[in-house]
């Protein structure tokens, strides 16, 4: 009974936080200058302003659009380009003077460093979804930035950046997915309490139970031996379902590409690394620092083995990031064919292929969640294995010398 009150209390707490974040509001904005081009409207807000404004017929740079779509942003763009509709999200900056909060709506959809937001005597601009301290005066393109031309002739800002802890689109989706997971699984837990353990599961309970049992038996139990898997099951379940729900949410067109963001996969991989290192027994470390090989090879083997500790979680990070990002880029590129060729005739082919890739992505969403969890369990399990033969060899080798 008391746990039930706690659960709903926590749910309400999170719900409250979540909605507070979005009280920054929905904003529809009229840009200062309007365009009449419709077909290429998609590119309008992304390309550099100078190239677009005087051109009679704008060319779409699909590569840039594709990359931008898989990146994070400070507001949640829903639709529209001339009159974009987006959900403003909180911007939280750690500046030299402390923390600064404001709504991303204050940038008025600008991502070219032209709109300055002034807070507590500090001035900020948004350039391609990175927030910089604004310069005192605008440059020749109207950007409050000092730019520097790189080797390829592309200008990039050299202004200082505050630390950006904003609730970006990815963070918002992360919180949203966490909320869904909490509500879903606490309600399933209540269902078990209510119907008792002897009756068969029903509804969402019966849908999730096989997945939970699969993670417990096929992922945790079969890879972490010696009956020590039980304390890792909650962690593995959380990893599996958090990745799965965000992989699936990522397939919805207006959603964020959270699992295809390297920061997200980086954190999960770091946690895997920490859990693996703290679960490791002396055989694991012995294998790295005293490999069962002649001492002469140690200068080569020890750095290699030591590197191996990091390459495994690194591969985890890259695998999930690359798989999800690649899938999204392919879908966007296929749809982009219509705009690149500027012909409706391409659309059946483009849509057909995009549909095919989307269906494939549904499979990939499940598969990548499975693979990440499986490999995490495998790393933990291999760090805990008792290498009896190897330890004996090691003892023999050390006795020799």
């Amino acid at each position: 009974m008391s746990s039930k009150i706690n659960t709903s209390g926590i749910s309400h707490f999170f719900l409250a936080i979540f909605f507070t974040l979005f009280t920054f509001g929905l904003s529809a904005e009229n840009p200062e200058h309007g365009h009449d081009t419709v077909a290429v409207a998609m590119a309008e807000n992304h390309g550099p302003a100078t190239e677009n404004q005087n051109a009679p017929h704008k060319k779409v740079n699909m590569a840039e659009i594709a990359i931008e779509h898989v990146l994070d942003s400070h507001s949640w763009h829903l639709w529209g380009d001339e009159h974009p509709v987006s959900i403003s999200l909180p911007v939280i900056l750690k500046t030299n003077k402390g923390l600064v909060y404001f709504s991303s709506g204050e940038f008025k959809h600008d991502v070219h460093g032209k709109v300055v937001v002034e807070k507590n005597g500090e001035r900020f601009v948004n350039f391609e979804e990175d927030i910089y301290y604004a310069s005192e005066i605008a440059n020749e393109h109207g950007q409050f930035l000092e730019t520097h031309l790189n080797a390829k002739g592309k200008s990039h800002p050299i202004n200082e950046k505050p630390l950006d802890f904003s609730i970006t689109k990815n963070v918002a989706q992360l919180l949203f997915s966490a909320l869904i997971l909490i509500l879903l699984f606490t309600s399933i837990a209540r269902a078990y309490k209510k119907t008792g353990v002897t009756s068969a599961p029903t509804g969402k309970q019966s849908f999730m139970e096989p997945l939970i049992v699969f993670v417990r038996d096929e992922i945790a139990k079969s890879n972490i031996g010696g009956g020590k898997h039980e304390k890792y099951v909650p962690y593995l379940l959380t990893v599996f379902f958090l990745i799965l729900i965000n992989n699936i949410l990522g397939l919805i067109p207006i959603s964020a590409n959270l699992t295809g963001n390297i920061a997200f996969t980086f954190v999960l991989a770091i946690i895997t690394f920490i859990v693996t290192s703290f679960s490791a027994n002396k055989h694991y470390w012995g294998h790295i620092f005293m490999p069962p090989a002649p001492k002469a090879l140690y200068p080569i083997l020890i750095p290699l083995e030591f590197l191996g500790i990091f390459t495994k979680p690194f591969a985890l990070m890259i695998r999930l990031f690359a798989n999800m990002t690649a899938g999204h880029i392919i879908v966007i590129s296929l749809v982009g064919l219509i705009f690149t060729f500027e012909s409706y005739l391409v659309s059946p082919i483009a849509v057909g292929f995009a549909l095919f890739i989307d269906v494939l992505e549904c499979l990939v969403a499940l598969l990548q969640a499975y693979i990440f969890t499986l490999l995490t369990a495998l790393f933990i399990g291999s760090a805990m294995v008792d290498h009896h033969e190897e330890s004996h060899e090691g003892e023999k080798a050390s006795a020799h010398h």
Binding site: S3, P234, I271
Partner: protein, 170 residues
């Protein structure tokens, strides 16, 4: 291709790292306490229950088998006992019948021999009586004949001789 944007694709942002870390750890804690623990415990309890039920079913089956074999054994014993009883009864009957027969035979023999003895005795008595009667009759006849014949001495002598000759019994 904007290399700057490509670079940001593989540069992890500090904000998302921070929030992912915070949210993930909170999520592990909250789900661990309020979801995974009760769910996993319930599943485990159910699995334990199913296993117990299966085991007890197997045990019941074994018990039943044992009972069945016991029953069969009892049946076999009963059958054997019945056969033995039948056999004994048959033997008893046979012996009784044989005894009765023997006894009857003995009785019959005894009765027969008794009857035979009686008959012999009766016959002897009858013969003795007849002898007596014959003797009486003979005396009477002899008397009459004597009365008649004894008129003459010769005739008397011849008659007596003849009579004695004829009286040759057995």
């Amino acid at each position: 291709m904007n290399l700057f944007i490509l670079g940001s694709l593989i540069t992890p942002g500090i904000g998302l790292i921070f929030w992912t870390g915070v949210v993930f750890l909170l999520l592990v804690g909250i789900l661990g306490k309020f979801a995974w623990k009760p769910i996993l415990n319930s599943i485990k309890t159910r699995e334990q229950g199913i296993e117990d039920a299966l085991k007890s079913a197997e045990r019941a089956l074994n018990d039943m088998r044992e009972l069945q074999s016991n029953n069969e054994k009892i049946m076999n014993d009963a059958r054997a006992e019945r056969d033995a009883m039948l056999k004994e009864a048959r033997e008893t009957k046979d012996s009784i019948v044989a005894e009765a027969k023997q006894k009857a035979q003995a009785d019959a023999d005894r009765i027969l021999s008794g009857a035979r003895e009686q008959i012999t005795a009766e016959k002897n008595a009858a013969v003795a009586e007849i002898k007596n009667q014959v003797a009486v009759l003979s005396i009477e006849i002899a008397e009459k004949i004597l009365k008649a014949e004894l008129s003459n001495d010769d005739k008397q002598k011849a008659l007596v001789t003849n009579l004695v000759k004829d009286l040759n019994f057995n």
